[in-house]
Structures are given as structure tokens and as C-alpha cells.
Amino acid sequence: MKTFTYERVNTPVEAAAAAARTPGAKFLAGGTNLLDLMKLEIEAPPHIIDIGKIGLDKIESTPAGGLLIGALVNNTDLAAHSIVRRDYGLLSRALLAGASGQLRNKATTAGNLLQRTRCPYFYDTNQLCNKRVPGSGCAAIAGFSRQLGIIGTSNACIATYPGDMAVAMRALDATVETVNAKGAKRALSLDRFYRLPGQTPHLETILEKNELITAVLLPPPVGGVHIYHKVRDRASYAFALVSVAAIIQKNGSGRVAVGGIAPRPWRVEGAESLLPSGAKAFAAQLLTGARPTKENEYKLALVERTVAAVLNEANH
């Protein structure tokens, strides 16, 4: 690990101001992803701003009937919160399908949103990777791509967004709230929060430099049956090959976001009117424009079949 200087701050604005003072500084929340990457020297920040004890750890109902989740609420507390379990079961299920008990106790809401891809070529510093070293090339496209993306990818990068929580939040129409060093706040809808890679796969979100996530806002609950179906190589503690986050209403309408296939949680609102027609029609529309590799084209069928399983479960 490269050496770094360290400071603790007391408020979100102080954190953003501290980041503005030191180019390349990183916020440290839970640290479960950042420290892992620092050990491999994939991340090498010269300065760490520890935001672990600045509050932002509350879950509060909003006057409009929604739920405001502090950026530093850990994954265990979020999954176990009584309102989340009752009204946003999809979010609980997604969180519980991810990582291990130890990691969920430490990993935070904002950190989870910002976790980096698990593309093996991003992690292996002997390999070419445009995300790790911009402009160096991508060894994944002609490599072992079984786990990697099939849609929203580019000829510079086929890495996927690895998480589960954000897939559920995308289906729940979540908004990311931020603050900058001047105290200015922004609300960023999750549907535009993650960038597609294009020729700049190292730029993953629309967050500006030194902007700090303070909360995630969920709109009022929409009812329906909540299902998070994750397909993976092991029964527990593995990243998704494909995951489907669905809210299905009694009349057959619904919302579906898919994980494990794209650089961001993949949701196409325009395809959702096809849900009552069944998984085949929906998946065909959802995956229009997909560019799988030989090794991961199985995901096309796997998405359709996982959606079919979810619709079947919702009808029972």
C-alpha cells in the first residue's frame, strides 16, 4: 500500500472542503472496497479523509412519505430497518443477497453505490485496463469475459457495475443527495447517476470532484410484490451473473431493473409496458442493442429466464 496522510473531519461540508484542499484525496467511509484496492495499489490516494464518524447514519421518514437514508448507514442496519423491510422489501432482499455478514456490518450506503467493478482485468495490475489506466487498452474483451457486461458497454470497457443494492434502488426510483465544499447541495436521480463507459471508463458517475454523497432518498412506497432474484456461481457470498430486482403489481404491471449485465443497474422504463406480455417480450426490448461476447452471450437467455422466474413467483 502506498503511504498516505490521514485526517478526521466532523461535518459533510468539512469533508468536501478537505478534499478540495488535497488533489487526489479520497473519502473513507466503511473502507471495505477502498482498502482492498489500496492494498493492490489500484487506488493510491495521497490523503485519506475519514468520514466514518460525521453522522449521516440515520434513516428518517420524509414529510412526503418517502425515506431518507443517511450515506453512512451500514448495509446491515439498512436491510434490517423496520420500514425498509415492510415497505421497500426489494431493498432489504438486495442487500442481504450481497457480500457477507462481516462486510454488510461495515459497508455503507454511499460506499456501496460507489464500489468499483470486480472485472478480473481491472483487479490484475499486469493486465491492460482502460478503467485502471486510461488509454492502456482492454484485455477483457478478448479475454475471459464470462462474468462481464453484455449491454451499455463499449469497445474500451465491458466491465459491469457489481453491486446489488443500487439495482434495487434503481427500481425504487431513488435519488442521490450530495454536498460540495461550498455547502451547495444537489439531488441526482439514480437513472443518470452512473455514466456509461464510452471512451472514458475511468469516469463512473456524474459526481463532481470533492462532491460528497450525504443521503439516498426513496420516494413513497408503491406497494406490489417485491422480489430480488440473484443468479450466481455459489449459493452465498458471490457477485451476480444476473440479478433481477422487480416490483410487480396485481394487474401485471411493474418495474424491473437488472444487475450483473451492464456498467450500471440496467433498467429500460419503455420496456416495462411489455411485462404483462411475459418475460420473452420484455427481455427482448430490455436487451435491444446488447453486444455480448462469445463467453457471455448466455446472459441473454439467463436474463429472460430469471425474469420469467420472477414473474412466475409474483403470480403465486
Binding site: T3, Y6, R85, R234, S236
Partner: protein, 214 residues
């Protein structure tokens, strides 16, 4: 082999001695560079942290990069906590922080200012085993024992999580209180790897403790 000689050097000392020898070899192989002339191009960054470990207040001034795991093992000599993968994948480094289990390898010691930390040494002693330690012995919940401190810390926390009503991936309902079934225990222990494969006995040990607590 002379057994009395062998017993005078612990495995830790053996590893330390071997590492020193290898380092010395590496330096002597570098032409024109003396070991003493090797300097850090970037100055070390030190910082202070205070926390409680197994009931005793500790204050350390250390390299900012020190993980909680390394602080426990190398600075405070609580070597019961083990380093397996050092990347949060195996669970050998599991300790309890403010009652909750975490991977101590994926946490900077500096993140734990004011925290209360419990390692395997704080759970029980050879004379007075924690009920979970006793159950692991009774049910053969290990073979080589390397993952065991992490398994036991994790197992203690798992039963507390079930008691607190925290659901898991295999809980049929998010609204009903979870029960310590075999499947629940296995799912909740998936962050602790055992290469000897003592999983079924670990689940048996946990199950017995859960029943006694109920």
C-alpha cells in the same frame, strides 16, 4: 531432529527469522547498494489512535496504513486473530467491534478511535471457555484451527444478529423473527471459509449454543 531444540523457537520466531534472512539476501544481491542506504522516498505518515481491546484501553502511534488486523497482531500481540487472504474474502480476521463482527483486515486501525474491540482472546480463556468455544471443541468444529478464531467470533455475532431480528438471504419472511435453523446458520457464516471443511460441525456447534440460549 532434536525435539528440545525445536521447541525453543516458536513458529512466529521461525517465520520472522526466515523473513530477515530472505531480506538480507535480497539486499546483498543488489550491486552497489548497501542495505543501510535504502530510504523511503516518501516519508512515513504516522497517526495516533486509542481504543479498547478485550477490556483494556490501548493507545497507539502508528503508520497510517496499519490495518486493525495488523495493529492487533503486530502492535498488541493479540495473535489469536489470523491473517488469511487479507482482502475480506476468508473471514479468518473476524473480530467484534462494538459487538458487531467485521473483517479486521479491511479496516484501518485509525478508523476505530474510541471503539470497543473483542478478539478471540477476549471471548474466553483455556480455563474458562466461552460457550461457543466449548461447543466447537465438543463438535470438532475445526481441523487445522487456522480459521477457528474468526469462525468463533463470527458465530457468536451470528447468534446475536438472529436474536436482534436481523433477517438473512434465506429468511422466508422479512417480517417474522428469524430462527437459528441449519440453513440460516450456513448462510450467515458464508463469509468464513474453512479449507478443512468443518462446516457441518461448525453449524452443529452453533446450533447447540443457540438452543441453550433460547
Amino acid at each position: 531432529m532434536d525435539e528440545s531444540n525445536e521447541s525453543t523457537i516458536t513458529r512466529r520466531e521461525m517465520i520472522a527469522a526466515t523473513t530477515t534472512a530472505v531480506t538480507a539476501l535480497a539486499f546483498s544481491g543488489m550491486t552497489g547498494v548497501q542495505a543501510t542506504s535504502i530510504q523511503h522516498t516518501v516519508p512515513l505518515s504516522l497517526a495516533q489512535v486509542s481504543f479498547t481491546v478485550n477490556g483494556r484501553a490501548q493507545s497507539l502511534n502508528m503508520d497510517t496504513r496499519t490495518t486493525l488486523l495488523d495493529a492487533l497482531r503486530e502492535h498488541l500481540q493479540f495473535t489469536g486473530t489470523k491473517k488469511g487472504c487479507d482482502h475480506g474474502q476468508c473471514g479468518a480476521c473476524t473480530v467484534l467491534v462494538n459487538g458487531r463482527r467485521i473483517n479486521s483486515c479491511l479496516s484501518l486501525a485509525l478508523q476505530h478511535q474510541g471503539d470497543t474491540i473483542t478478539t478471540i482472546e477476549g471471548l474466553g480463556t483455556p480455563d474458562k471457555l466461552h460457550p461457543m468455544q466449548a461447543a466447537f471443541v465438543k463438535h470438532d468444529g475445526y481441523q487445522c484451527g487456522y480459521c477457528t478464531p474468526g469462525q468463533i467470533c463470527s458465530a457468536v455475532a451470528v447468534l446475536n444478529e438472529i436474536k436482534a431480528g436481523i433477517p438473512s438471504h434465506v429468511s422466508a419472511s422479512l417480517l417474522e423473527k428469524p430462527v437459528a435453523t441449519n440453513m440460516e446458520l450456513r448462510e450467515r457464516m458464508s463469509g468464513n471459509i474453512c479449507r478443512c471443511g468443518a462446516y457441518s460441525n461448525i453449524a452443529e456447534a452453533m446450533s447447540e449454543v443457540a438452543q441453550k440460549q433460547a
